[in-house]
Symmetry: C2
């Protein structure tokens, strides 16, 4: 229940807090003040106090925050202890990178299966998981009821695929395709990664800097 009162802007910052606190913990830092944390994170101490107060505020005046308790609290709010089961659809270059590069288990998920249509990829072992034929997706979902689908497929395929996956009971998507799932299915949880949009944004920033320098 507590989560519902955390504002979206604070939620957006929680993964970054989690990352920095995990780094501090790995370095053996036991406690930290909002002032020190703000310097490391490039923000203000008052912003940090305000953010962390939203969910209980474990800081003590003149003592600071217990790094481990705070990090674990943020992990709980993010739901990282859930180990939701994820299926990856599309084992091309991007899907392969996602399967191999991302530590799903640290981020609240377990990658349980990978599916593709490409006969040359099916049967390949990716990070301990054998890529299966997409034909077997329906049966897999029926049997194992995965929680989340990771879509590393082109936009034109993503529309029908997400429709199927929702019919198979999946209600959360990590979406690398350019198909807007959330528009069609407002009830599902979607996190989009639009690499193309990100690259265009960089182009804008670079252009702006150049124009400023030239003026």
């Amino acid at each position: 229940m507590r989560k519902e009162i955390i504002s979206p802007s604070v939620v957006k910052r929680l993964p970054r807090y989690y990352r920095f606190l995990s780094d501090l913990l790995a370095k053996g830092t036991g406690k930290i003040s909002s002032g020190e944390l703000s310097k490391i994170m490039g923000t203000t101490a008052s912003q940090i106090r305000q953010d962390l107060n939203c969910f209980g505020g474990f800081g003590q005046q003149g003592y600071g925050y217990n790094v481990e308790i705070l990090r674990d609290e943020i992990a709980t709010i993010l739901g990282l202890n859930h180990k939701y089961s994820a299926v990856l659809i599309g084992a091309g270059n991007l899907g392969r990178a996602i399967a191999n590069h991302i530590a799903f288990t640290e981020k609240g998920f377990t990658l349980s299966a990978i599916f593709d249509v490409d006969e040359t990829i099916i049967g390949e072992n990716m990070n301990g998981i054998v890529v299966e034929n997409i034909d077997k997706l329906k049966d897999f979902c029926k049997k194992h009821k995965p929680d989340v689908a990771v879509l590393c497929i082109p936009k034109n395929v993503a529309e029908s695929m997400s429709k199927q996956l929702i019919e198979y009971g999946i209600n959360a998507f990590w979406n690398f395709s350019h198909y807007d799932i959330a528009m069609e299915y407002p009830q599902v949880s979607v996190e989009n990664v639009h690499l193309g949009d990100s690259l265009m944004t960089l182009c804008y920033k670079k252009t702006l800097t150049e124009e400023k320098e030239n003026n």
Copy 2:
């Protein structure tokens, strides 16, 4: 000059406008009203009119927007016609996916070189570019003066690598590492892609949905 008055929140939406308008153009749509566009994009007509008014507003009462002119205008604002030269550092799983998956040329960039430290990867051909030894980076930068670096390397390497790259004259980064370049070098343009943060955010959304269902 005009760009400086476009608010960051509008800028953030421009790549998405660009994508939808490109799709419309590919389907042969010549003009579109703010009402129709809002339905396709899942937003409101007034939001669209407000956004597009920021940079001249090409819509005509009772006629709508000329899709091609509007798309080209957004491309110009984003700087997509620049063809900035980009070097990719790190040709592991993620770097490989980025090199092969992203149409750099459509997004304002040309991928001109790929560098790695791994002897087993150096010499490999990725999307027409041969992966070079990182030893050659300095000379390459001196000779070709690339505009942008794409960092697909771990956080612990990214710190020293970005320092070097800035010394070599690069002032813009597409950053997939978890190192916060912008904090150390506020003068450079940085666009971060934090896949781990994105996955944690999905975990939060999924957890929230489950809690609502269970209550």
